[in-house]
């Protein structure tokens, strides 16, 4: 048939079309249709839920219009799963929706492909979020949210740690990433001098309110704790805060001020089946139009600087990557995490469970 490594259903279908296709094969090879058939299927893993439909509209369809094929898998690419695949030599994923911690844990273990910046356009992402083993896909923030029924004025991050001023339970993520940064900002560390993180100082800050803090595991849990009034203030992802704001008709409010801007990253497992086609898919997903669609659907901020101007005015307030919002936030430093993630995360878990 047209090519040996064409493992797709399309090749089987063309096989069924019978002898005519076989005879005509040399001619078909050169036609645009054949080129389209030769392009491999790219399996993209995200964390499922609402992201399936949103990714389909924002990324899968535009790539299909260019003749490529992305298949979504919502099973969630945790570090351990990616490493198992790579070590067993049976990689089935091409692109994973991951984060800084994946770079930190899997980069040094040599389980990630280097991003091919001859295909992926470095000019279409902020320079600080284009890494060797991963490239930004969308932006998100860890922000302060509060229950306006119990906290009347707009609180600051320092108020989060002030139980006298605002009594009541607080909520943090069961992960050191972003939580330590926000502790330090609350304690007066300037946003541009956060790194290297003073973890002792951050833990000491949590200690002041520790008996009143609950820790969320999943994004859904963070929503439920705020929605049900279990906590009066919380540190959570801006996407979830945004959903809460809508659901509660504004009872839950949030601010980007003193938040931490973080990149969601595309990473490619070592030895991915689609090879370089994965990078063509990533390049396609850099188009601003799809990224704006994703913002409208889920609140994920566009990573392409050119997309910011395309964002409709009514969506700007919820866009973490909007220049006005970027200006008031700190930015995460991946290099520090690559060195320190594992031990910091473990120390954080030990600290909150003691």
């Amino acid at each position: 048939m047209t090519s040996i490594d064409n493992s797709s259903a399309l090749s089987r279908r063309s096989l069924l079309k019978g002898g005519a296709a076989v005879i005509a094969a040399p001619a078909v090879l050169t036609s645009p249709l054949a080129l389209a058939q030769q392009r491999k299927e790219v399996v993209l893993v995200n964390f499922g839920g609402a992201a399936m439909k949103a990714f389909d509209e924002a990324y899968v369809q535009p790539f299909a219009a260019q003749g490529g094929r992305i298949v979504l898998d919502g099973s969630g690419a945790l570090n351990g799963k990616i490493l198992t695949m790579v070590q067993s030599g049976k990689v089935t994923w091409d692109i994973c929706d991951a984060g800084i911690t994946t770079l930190a844990e899997l980069g040094p273990r040599n389980a990630l492909e280097k991003i091919d910046y001859s295909i992926v356009d470095k000019a279409k992402v902020p320079a600080e979020f284009a890494y060797e083993n991963g490239v930004v896909n969308y932006m998100f923030s860890s922000v302060l949210a509060w229950d306006t029924a119990k906290v009347k004025e707009t609180p600051t991050l320092a108020d989060f740690f002030d139980l006298k001023k605002y009594p009541g339970r607080r909520m943090m993520r069961k992960d050191s990433q972003a939580m330590l940064e926000l502790c330090l900002i609350a304690d007066g560390v300037p946003q541009d001098k956060l790194y290297p993180l003073d973890t002792k100082r951050a833990f000491a800050k949590i200690e002041t309110i520790k008996k009143d803090v609950l820790y969320w595991n999943s994004g859904a849990e963070s929503q439920s704790l705020m929605r049900d009034g279990e906590c009066v203030m919380g540190l959570l992802w801006h996407t979830r805060a945004n959903v809460l704001k809508g659901e509660t008709q504004g009872r839950i409010a949030y601010t980007f001020k003193d938040g931490l801007l973080q990149p969601g990253l595309w990473v490619v497992p070592k030895g991915n089946p689609a090879g370089a086609e994965a990078f063509r898919a990533i390049a396609s997903m850099q188009q601003p139009e799809g990224q704006v669609k994703l913002l409208a659907a889920m609140g994920n901020g566009p990573s392409n600087p050119a997309a910011q101007a395309l964002v409709p005015p009514d969506l700007r307030a919820m866009n973490p990557a909007d220049p006005a919002n970027v200006a008031v936030q700190a930015k995460i430093n991946a290099a520090w995490y690559i060195e320190n993630h594992s031990k910091t995360f473990q120390a954080y878990l030990d600290f909150i469970s003691s």
Partner: protein
């Protein structure tokens, strides 16, 4: 139940059985060999699909990141692991004790209930077994939270002034775990109590014992094998709890199952994760070995 497997083990008596089947005699197969033969398919299945993969996983604990016992050294040196093991042990022991007390009461009531009432009571014991642990944890969340049903009732009836902290702590975790474990406590104790000859109690009463004396000196000792068996079962299950502590613990109750998950999936320290899994297997094995010296495990698990 899993106990069925253990129950089918008539090997010890078969050798003495004079009426051995003529077929077996013709085939000249020894009594116990015949049963080993029958067990072979199941045994092979277990080895291929259970023992082998588990051994491979546990093997990682002595090979990753370097060959050696350095992962096991952490059991002695890591403060983080010590704390987590203590939490796990504390919660498991308390859960087991509370479950046994409650299960004993329920089993006692079951044994002494009328036929019709018992059937309904059994339904109440068994039905929760069919409900997912996740659903049950969320149900407890609805009941126990600050503005939940229980706190609302207590507040409006004036019993308490401020909501009780029933959830997001070890109390919440234990409420959820005890609820989950109750059927595993009730069934073995019930099975044992059912076999106690009620005439013993009548005899004790006839000889002048008061009701409470007859219970303490006759019924309670006779029911102990069931209690010990239920205790082992509940304790072993408690050690491996994951969902309930994660949901009802407010993120502050770190037990061994969640700790292993973090090592395997997030910080990717597979050596440490598998070492803890191996430790869990060894501890449970050792526990069973020690207990088997005091109680007849076969009878225990076979008696459910």
């Amino acid at each position: 139940m899993l106990s069925r497997l253990a129950a089918i083990d008539p090997a010890p008596t078969i050798g003495a059985d004079p009426s051995r089947s003529s077929l077996a005699r013709r085939l000249r197969v020894g009594g116990s060999a015949r049963y080993w033969l029958l067990m072979t398919p199941a045994l092979a299945l277990m080895i291929v699909f259970y023992v082998y993969p588990i051994s491979r996983v546990l093997w990682i604990s002595v090979t990753e990141p370097q060959p050696g016992l350095e992962n096991f050294e952490l059991l002695l040196t890591s403060a983080s692991i010590h704390k987590m093991l203590l939490t796990t042990a504390r919660i498991s022991v308390l859960t087991t004790l509370i479950t046994l007390v409650l299960a004993y009461v329920v089993a006692y009531a079951l044994v002494h209930a009328g036929e019709r009432a018992r059937r309904w009571m059994f339904l109440g014991v068994i039905v929760p077994l069919w409900i997912s642990v996740l659903v049950r944890a969320f149900a407890w969340f609805v009941l126990l939270r600050r503005e939940g049903l229980i706190n609302n009732i207590l507040m409006t009836s004036g019993v308490v002034d401020s909501p009780l902290s029933l959830i997001w702590n070890e109390t919440g975790v234990m409420i959820g775990m005890v609820h989950y474990m109750l059927p595993f406590g009730i069934l073995p104790i019930y099975a044992n109590m059912r076999d106690i000859d009620q005439r013993c109690i009548a005899a004790a009463r006839g000889l002048g014992a008061t009701r409470s004396e007859a219970f303490r000196k006759v019924f309670l000792p006779l029911s102990m094998p069931g209690v010990v068996g239920a205790g082992i079962l509940v304790f072993m299950f408690s050690l491996g709890f994951f969902v309930t502590p994660a949901i009802l613990g407010g993120g502050k109750t770190l037990m061994i199952a969640e700790y292993i998950k973090v090592q395997i999936l997030e910080v990717v320290r597979w050596g440490v994760g598998t070492m803890l899994a191996a430790t869990l297997v060894i501890v449970i094995g050792a526990l069973l070995a020690v207990l088997s010296r005091f109680v007849d495990l076969r009878k225990l698990f076979g008696s459910i």
